[in-house]
């Protein structure tokens, strides 16, 4: 269920997000043309749908990330309900790297480092959501968009445990993925 079907679903979602981005760009261009020719302001109502699409400011990555956020938030909620209370930020990050990671991505992370100032680097030497790509540097340029969804998942999970963070991913050579978690300072 979560193996091949998930990979296929994920790639369909990525494809969908790309298509939607194109559609929005197209709407923007069309609106530009129309906006210049309109003289009567009442005419604008006719293009309600187009205007809505043209002014939606989100690209494919943002859309994927926000979908991942929802998923990660709910998953973390379900997985953490029986966990012991977290006392420190590090405990939360450890929970994400162990229990959460192995439940969602099928294994634990391989390396976790921190500068003890809110920045964590998580390394997964065999990241499950990219297993459909061959191990090489061949696709590293195109792979960014496939990392948007999992990054959102991680950010959502952290948010669920009351940690606001910026999550970015880097790939040098597949299947190794490094996640940088930059946690917000507690006020």
């Amino acid at each position: 269920m979560a193996g091949i079907p998930f990979d296929l679903l994920h790639s369909q979602i990525v494809k969908y997000a790309k298509e939607m981005e194109e559609k929005r760009a197209e709407a923007k261009n069309r609106w530009k043309e129309i906006a210049e020719s309109i003289v009567d302001s009442t005419e604008i109502d006719k293009y309600d749908q187009l205007v809505k699409q043209a002014f939606m400011h989100s690209n494919a990555e943002t859309q994927l990330e926000s979908m991942g956020y929802r998923v990660g938030f709910v998953l973390a909620e379900r997985l953490s309900k029986d966990a012991a209370k977290f006392n420190t930020e590090l405990e939360i990050v450890k929970f994400i790297c162990k229990e959460f990671w192995s439940n969602v991505f099928g294994k634990q992370v391989d390396n976790l480092r921190t500068n003890h100032a809110g920045v964590y680097v998580v390394q997964d030497n065999n990241f499950s959501m990219l297993r459909t790509f061959s191990d090489s540097t061949q696709f590293t340029k195109d792979i960014g968009i496939y990392l948007a969804f999992p990054s959102g998942v991680i950010r959502g999970a952290l948010a669920c445990l009351n940690v606001q963070a910026i999550v970015t991913a880097t790939v040098e050579s597949l299947p190794v993925v490094k996640y940088h978690l930059q946690l917000a300072k507690k006020a």
């Binding site: 269920m1 979560a2 193996g3 091949i4 079907p5 998930f6 296929l8 679903l9 994920h10 369909q12 979602i13 969908y16 939607m20 859309q63 979908m67 991942g68 929802r70 998923v71 709910v74 998953l75 379900r78 192995s102 439940n103 969602v104 991505f105 099928g106 294994k107 065999n126 499950s128 297993r131 061959s134 191990d135 090489s136 969804f149 299947p175």
Partner: protein
Amino acid sequence: MSKTTKTGSLVDAKKMSAELFTLTYGAFVTQMLKDYEDPQVVTAKLDKIGFDMGTVLADDFLAKSANVPRCQDCKQIAEVLSKLAIPNYLGVPATVSNWSSGDREFSLIIESNPLTELVEIPDHLKATLNYSQVIAGAIRGALEALHFKVYAVAVENASNTEIRIKLDSILKDSLPAGEDY
């Protein structure tokens, strides 16, 4: 290509939670409803997405189950779908029922559909959105890859999901002119 180096590695696909799939699918459908606003368009999109997934799944299925004989009729298709393909990819069994139009039409009943776990479909969408249409689309795609043209539609019942399948025709191999096998 690199798959051989990956086998035996730490990634165990089975261990990845089925909830991940369910929630991801849910988030996706929600996003589509936001983008398109018309639930019927979303249902059609889900069918197309399922179709694309199905064609790949058919490949995977054939690669992994070498001893499944070629289906000759609808009964056999129903058997393979309910006993092998659906448990394999959806993780739950399905039962076959409601045969009609001379054994060319049947229903697959999925009792505890994992897609609808954790999901509550709002009342105003119930009539127009076929939430599990992706399964029907996948079946259509997979069978079309095996040269069976079918129509499939997913219906949400109170306690289960019903996939209604109708065999339309068996597609003929159309080889390019001048090629013999």
